[in-house]
């Protein structure tokens, strides 16, 4: 897809994240990035940053995630603004630094310190990476107080949300979903911004609300498209940030449609979808005209075989079917 740059500029989410970091690093020299093999930029988003900013600000780390994710906390505490590149599957070894220090320090020290850190957490699910590499554990970080959790579903949102996350004075878990990293959307050259905590209606509709997260957004949109041809008008709402969660937008949409399907790619139990379902069952109860439908990843670890893995996740069709069920 070639486009004239002045006209509409379609770039991938990976490129958008790269631009966001580059611009923030240009603007604020306290911003630096740490991670594994980021200087070579093999994993995409950090490509070219080493060439522009050098090894001090684009730091390749030893394979010591607990130490370097914890070092990000210390660096933030003394005035730096670290971005840490990693993946949910590699954060288990670093959970103590993340939970005991990053999430707790501000509160337990009575607000003495700001911790402006962005933990960029990739999700490699959907690519036959098997159980160890397919984690999507953002609901844990929603459960633990102290993190903001951001999850863009396209390049346009991604660029602005990553910039907002870097400017944030609190620790942010920034979710990067590999199933959509290569998808292109229009991203203007000019400055624009999206605040944390504001959901986006990705498609308007009147018959049912589909709340979809990250890589589930394109699937929900495809489902809505299919449903439209059946005369069903589905609204697709993308929360964009899970903490803070734009509860009002969700409740407002449900108030309009009376029906809710929540689509998550985390395991179902105690997921973001569970949380949204719980909220609506409490605060939107009287608006509901049918039981909530919760779609998520089945409660097994991700199997390697390409014959099994696709069965784990919600699909265009399973989402459409859930909408039909709420209307039945």
């Amino acid at each position: 897809m070639t486009q004239t740059q002045t006209d509409t500029r379609n770039i991938t989410l990976t490129q958008a994240l790269n631009e966001a970091m580059r611009e923030e690093m240009r603007q604020d020299e306290r911003v630096f990035i740490m991670g594994e093999d980021i200087q070579s930029g093999v994993y995409g988003a950090s490509g070219g940053l080493f060439a522009e900013f050098g090894g001090e600000r684009v730091r390749d780390c030893p394979l010591s995630e607990n130490a370097f994710m914890g070092a990000a906390v210390g660096a933030a505490a003394v005035g730096m603004r670290p971005i840490v590149e990693s993946a949910f599957c590699f954060m288990w070894v670093a959970m103590d630094s993340l939970v005991s220090q990053a999430s707790k320090m501000r509160y337990m020290f009575g607000g003495q310190v700001d911790l402006p850190i962005v933990y960029r957490a990739s999700m490699y699910y959907g690519g036959s990476m098997a159980a160890h590499h397919s984690d999507r554990s953002y609901p844990l970080f929603m459960h633990i107080p102290g993190f903001k959790v951001v999850f863009p579903s396209n390049a346009y949102d991604g660029k602005a949300l990553l910039r907002a996350a870097i400017q944030e004075d609190d620790p942010v878990i920034f979710c990067e979903d590999r199933t959509i990293l290569g998808a292109r959307t229009h991203v203007p050259e000019e400055d624009y911004s999206i605040p944390l905590g504001v959901a986006d209606i990705k498609r308007e509709g009147t018959d049912a609300t589909i709340v979809a997260i990250g890589g589930m957004v394109p699937r929900a949109l495809a489902a809505a498209e299919a449903l439209a041809s059946e005369g069903i008008s589905a609204e697709v709402l993308d929360p964009r940030t899970l903490v803070p969660l734009d509860k009002e937008a969700i409740l407002k949409s449900v108030a309009k449609t009376g029906r809710l399907v929540v689509v998550d790619m985390a395991h179902k139990t105690c997921s973001a979808a569970s949380e949204i379902a719980a909220i609506v069952s409490m605060e939107g109860f009287w608006d509901l005209q049918a039981p909530i439908q919760r779609l998520g990843t089945v409660n097994v670890h991700i199997p390697f075989s390409p014959a099994l893995e696709p069965l784990c996740y919600a699909t265009d069709e399973s989402i459409a079917e859930a909408v039909r069920t709420t209307l039945a």
């Binding site: 001090e56 010591s64 914890g70 070092a71 505490a77 005035g79 103590d96 509160y107």
Partner: protein
């Protein structure tokens, strides 16, 4: 470089810790301090010797045995005591308590109740120094037990390969709760572990404040001049049982009274006092004056803490985030 003023200040700070801790024992017994509190009595020379080798703008982090480090670094005993009583005038507004003292304004980046957790934080502060181009040094304090945590290994290697200005300070009081380090650490001295990181490792008499001061001064000089981290082990002893209020733990092969009494013969304050007298640096009178002043200070701190109000219920939701969000 160790002039008389400093020698007297060492005495003062050790006494301040001792009297603070004695007051704490009393307040725990009276039920005025609740939760867990771990006494630093017997180990005063380690923190004081180390912190006297630091500048005010250097950083420290600590652990659950948490009152000695901030006092040694020059922390205010009033706000510390108020914190222990859970008062709103506490250094952490009552949110931290005994195990979470901190004072970011004078480089105290926080005591941590989770073993090893604050070691990466200190490494990160040192990384901040390196990135900011200043020469501030970071000193994480941790125990013999905590040196078995993965965070210890990862942090030292990270600091070593990046030549960060860190002095890893192991307070080897020879036990972790009831476990002797001889059974739990494979090498004879924690300092021997420095060999795994090609950095200096030195075993110091932790009852001798000057020996501690000198060893740390050397390590700090190395760190400040960009030569990287060191590991300093202060061999010391705690007089009290692991945690106040847990009750007396008696068990073979845990330590017996005779061992405790033997160590008390090498009391760090007595040793320092004797030296001051012997070298005619101070008279008994002057020493008594220092001690009386310290006692007054502690009395005043207790009064201040007692008279301070508890936090208001509305403070519960304060301090979680710099950029606030609604919390339920």
């Amino acid at each position: 470089m160790l002039d008389n003023t400093m020698l007297m200040e060492m005495l003062r700070r050790m006494m301040r810790i001792r009297h603070f801790e004695e007051a704490v024992i009393n307040l725990v017994e009276r039920g005025e301090i609740v939760g867990a509190a771990h006494s630093y009595i017997g180990e005063e020379a380690v923190a004081v010797g180390a912190c006297m080798a630091l500048r005010d703008d250097d950083w420290i982090t600590g652990n659950h045995r948490s009152h000695g480090h901030p006092i040694a670094k020059g922390g205010d005993v009033r706000t510390a005591m108020a914190e222990l009583l859970g008062k709103s005038t506490g250094i952490c507004k009552g949110k931290g308590g005994s195990m979470h003292l901190a004072d970011f304004s004078i480089g105290i980046l926080g005591e941590s109740g989770i073993l090893g957790s604050a070691i990466p934080t200190a490494v990160g502060a040192a990384l901040g120094s390196q990135l900011q181009g200043n020469d501030r040094v970071a000193v994480p304090f941790f125990g013999d037990g905590a040196s078995n945590e993965g965070a210890f290994h990862e942090s030292i290697n990270l600091a070593a390969v990046w030549k960060l200005p860190v002095v890893f300070l192991c307070e080897n009081n020879q036990y972790a709760v009831t476990s002797s380090f001889k059974q739990m650490v494979a090498v004879e001295n924690i300092a021997d572990r420095a060999a795994a990181y090609a950095i200096p490792g030195v075993l110091v008499d932790g009852q001798d404040v000057i020996a501690m001061y000198e060893a740390v001064t050397e390590a700090v000089a190395r760190a400040r001049s960009g030569q990287g981290p060191s590991l300093v082990e202060g061999r010391t002893y705690r007089y009290q049982d692991h945690s106040l209020g847990l009750g007396r733990i008696v068990r073979d092969p845990y330590r017996d009274d005779a061992e405790v009494e033997e160590w008390k013969l090498r009391d760090p304050i007595d040793i320092h006092k004797a030296r001051l007298l012997e070298q005619s640096i101070a008279t008994q009178d002057e020493i008594d004056q220092v001690e009386n002043k310290v006692k007054e200070q502690i009395e005043e701190a207790i009064t201040f803490a007692r008279e301070s109000p508890y936090p208001e219920p509305s403070e519960l939701f304060e301090d979680m985030f710099a950029n606030k969000i609604p919390l339920e």
